[in-house]
């Protein structure tokens, strides 16, 4: 994006407050650096895990989570590192869980695909495409019955809109006017398959429209535009009007999982996506609104320190004892 395009993009959408943009950048940079570090450590053999890269999708979740509170709920999916960090899970516990350690959020029993951290509202991370949607409804139903004013954000990809749970779940949410925000992070690929190959509608928004749900389609990689859409959906839900489907356009800079080269993504498409990388754009936006280079560098350095500490903690932490498998199956320990 050149300067002309950038200034046009800024004038097209209402710029978010300076503090909000700094907040979004702080979260997004933590995600970007974490993703880079994970890929590096896995590549170096320091971690042996299946990893679903999130590079390219940082701004979508950072802007969404900047629009909600810690006590609001999040349901996300196996490609969820960006959502989990943006929602505020402490890096040390998150890294330790990715590494399968006892000090992890889930005592090493969930792993990267099943992160839970109720303290920060992260209630479910599912490895089953689309399955979080019906569960998000249940969280929303509880909030509706309790009148606690909480909203639930449910993240999934464009691929999830081809599974039945999406249609059942969104229909029920709309019928019951549940305070749930369905955030479809449309990175245009479901695993290896391009959207046009497997999705009948031109947009995901159309599917929400068809279900009678308030639905919007935004450039999720534009922090201000994404934040405005998120804020609006949150206010709509908190006011008791019901759910919103946000189709946030974004891109995935790596394969479906680490090791997948993404050979099925046309070169020109990837080239354009990298040119539109939301991270340098957001960084430049901060400079444009008079955040100093030194302040930005300080944010980046602080994030780096958090990540370095978390990564080392994860490596050093002990594994859970083998007997741990008998605990938490039911409310009582299973006999050996």
């Amino acid at each position: 994006m050149d300067d002309h395009q950038r200034s046009k993009a800024l004038s097209d959408t209402q710029m978010a407050d300076k503090d909000v943009l700094i907040d979004i950048f702080t979260r997004a940079d933590l995600i970007m650096q974490s993703d880079i570090k994970f890929r590096k450590m896995i590549g170096a053999g320091q971690l042996q895990i299946v990893y679903y890269p999130v590079r390219g999708q940082e701004v979508v979740s950072s802007a969404m989570m900047a629009a909600i509170n810690q006590e609001d709920y999040l349901v996300t999916i196996y490609r969820g590192l960006h959502d989990q960090l943006a929602k505020g899970i402490p890096s040390k516990e998150l890294w330790a869980e990715f590494a399968g350690k006892m000090a992890g959020t889930c005592k090493g029993k969930g792993g990267p695909m099943h992160i839970t951290h109720p303290e920060t509202g992260v209630m479910v991370t599912t490895g089953i495409v689309g399955s979080g949607i019906p569960i998000a409804n249940g969280l929303g139903l509880a909030s509706q019955l309790d009148k606690d004013g909480k909203v639930t954000v449910c993240c999934f990809g464009d691929g999830a809109t081809n599974i039945g749970a999406f249609h059942e779940g969104l229909n029920m949410a709309q019928v019951w006017k549940l305070p749930v925000i369905f955030l479809c992070q449309n990175n245009l690929y479901s695993e290896h398959t391009p959207m046009a190959f497997a999705t009948s509608s031109e947009t995901i928004k159309q599917r929400g429209d068809g279900l009678g749900m308030r639905s919007v389609r935004v450039n999720g990689n534009d922090a201000s535009e994404m934040y405005a859409a998120a804020k609006e959906a949150v206010e709509y839900a908190r006011a008791g009007n019901g759910p919103t489907l946000i189709e946030a356009m974004t891109f995935r800079f790596h394969g479906h999982l680490l090791g997948d080269t993404g050979h099925y993504i046309p070169e020109a498409e990837m080239e354009q996506a990298l040119k539109d990388d939301p991270m340098p754009i957001l960084r430049q936006q901060l400079l444009d609104i008079q955040v100093s280079e030194a302040d930005i560098a300080a944010i980046e350095a602080k994030n780096k320190a958090i990540i370095d500490e978390a990564a080392q903690f994860a490596l050093d932490a002990p594994y859970p004892p083998g007997d741990e498998y008998r605990i938490d199956v039911l409310d009582v320990e299973i006999a050996a």
């Binding site: 099943h114 599912t126 399955s131 569960i135 749970a165």
Partner: protein
């Protein structure tokens, strides 16, 4: 409560258990297809009157969306509710298996105990009513095989009341299996505070020659056979598991250690059924004491047939139980 009926139907017992649970705990909510009074109080009327008493916020009719129903139950259970989801017929559970198996059963474990899913799924089934292959299956073995799920099946109204109440209050996900053909069979009424703990079998008939281990409708069939054989001097003990998973191994083994012979009886297809697990556990613990290998009675290896002649031939029967007992006792 002196004017309370001495006998009630199975369906009524379930209704009363839910009413008591809802009155005792404001976090108990019900959801399912057609369950509110405006939609008829359930196709079998098991939830009749509950929405009138507790309101449609707590007794919610839903779209025909089994995975959305179970998902909503899972989500609300994660944050303090005790939802009771009605999946009208057990075959429809197949539509919601992802929510049940991958989520309800596993979230406590996968979260390292940070969350739990205290939900109950009520569902009804049972062959013999000409509903054919997709409305009558007994699928308890599928569910009993999943770590993290409890599976319960009552054989009489009194137990249904006490077990359903316990299921709703249990901190774990419970599948509560009702039996359609005996919904309107009467039995002694429970006292209002009657509770049956999960995981505890009963021995409704004591005997000395052979143990008949069963649950749900199998209990009535075993009683009938036991009664008949008593006339010939064969003494059968009947063990009603009540909770299929985790099953009360102690009570089963105690009974078989005494009789030294056993038949496991269920309506579900015999192949790979719960009878195989129970039989195997008995062999593992009591092999050298047994008079003969443990027998199994179940229905045939076929989908539930429609035509009454085929359905009858396919289904487990009192004759099958009697034949198995005679074979074992030689």
């Amino acid at each position: 409560m002196s004017d309370a009926p001495k006998e009630i139907m199975f369906a009524q017992a379930c209704n009363m258990a839910m009413a008591k649970a809802m009155a005792d705990d404001p976090k108990v909510i019900l959801m399912g297809e057609d369950i509110a009074d405006e939609q008829g109080g359930g196709v079998f009327k098991v939830t009749a009157g509950l929405s009138a008493q507790f309101g449609t916020d707590r007794v919610r009719s839903t779209p025909i969306s089994e995975q959305a129903i179970v998902g909503a139950a899972v989500g609300s259970a994660l944050v303090g509710y005790k939802p009771v989801a009605e999946i009208m017929l057990m075959n429809f559970i197949t539509v919601a298996m992802d929510q049940i198996v991958n989520h309800a059963a596993k979230l406590r474990f996968m979260s390292g105990g940070q969350t739990s899913v205290p939900l109950t799924i009520r569902t009804t089934t049972g062959a013999g009513t000409g509903l054919g292959g997709q409305h009558s299956d007994m699928l308890e073995a599928w569910l009993a095989h999943v770590p993290g799920l409890k599976v319960v099946a009552a054989s009489n109204p009194c137990d249904a009341y006490g077990l359903l109440y316990s299921s709703i209050m249990d901190p774990n996900p419970v599948i509560f299996i009702e039996n359609t053909p005996t919904y309107f069979t009467k039995g002694p009424a429970p006292a209002p505070d009657h509770v049956v703990p999960l995981g505890v079998a009963s021995v409704p008939r004591e005997g000395s020659d052979i143990s008949l281990i069963t649950y749900s409708r199998g209990v009535a069939a075993c009683h009938a056979v036991a009664e008949k054989l008593a006339g010939e001097g064969i003494s059968c003990e009947v063990v009603d598991l009540r909770t299929i998973a985790p099953f009360d191994e102690k009570t089963v083994l105690k009974s078989v250690a005494k009789t030294k012979a056993a038949v496991v009886v269920h309506e579900a297809v015999k192949n790979f059924g719960t009878g195989a697990e129970i039989s195997s556990r008995i062999h593992e613990e009591l092999f050298s004491e047994l008079k003969a290998p443990v027998g199994r009675v179940g229905s045939g290896y076929a989908p539930v047939p429609f035509s009454p002649t085929i359905e009858k031939a396919w289904m487990f029967s009192e004759d099958d139980i009697e034949r198995e007992i005679r074979k074992i006792l030689g």
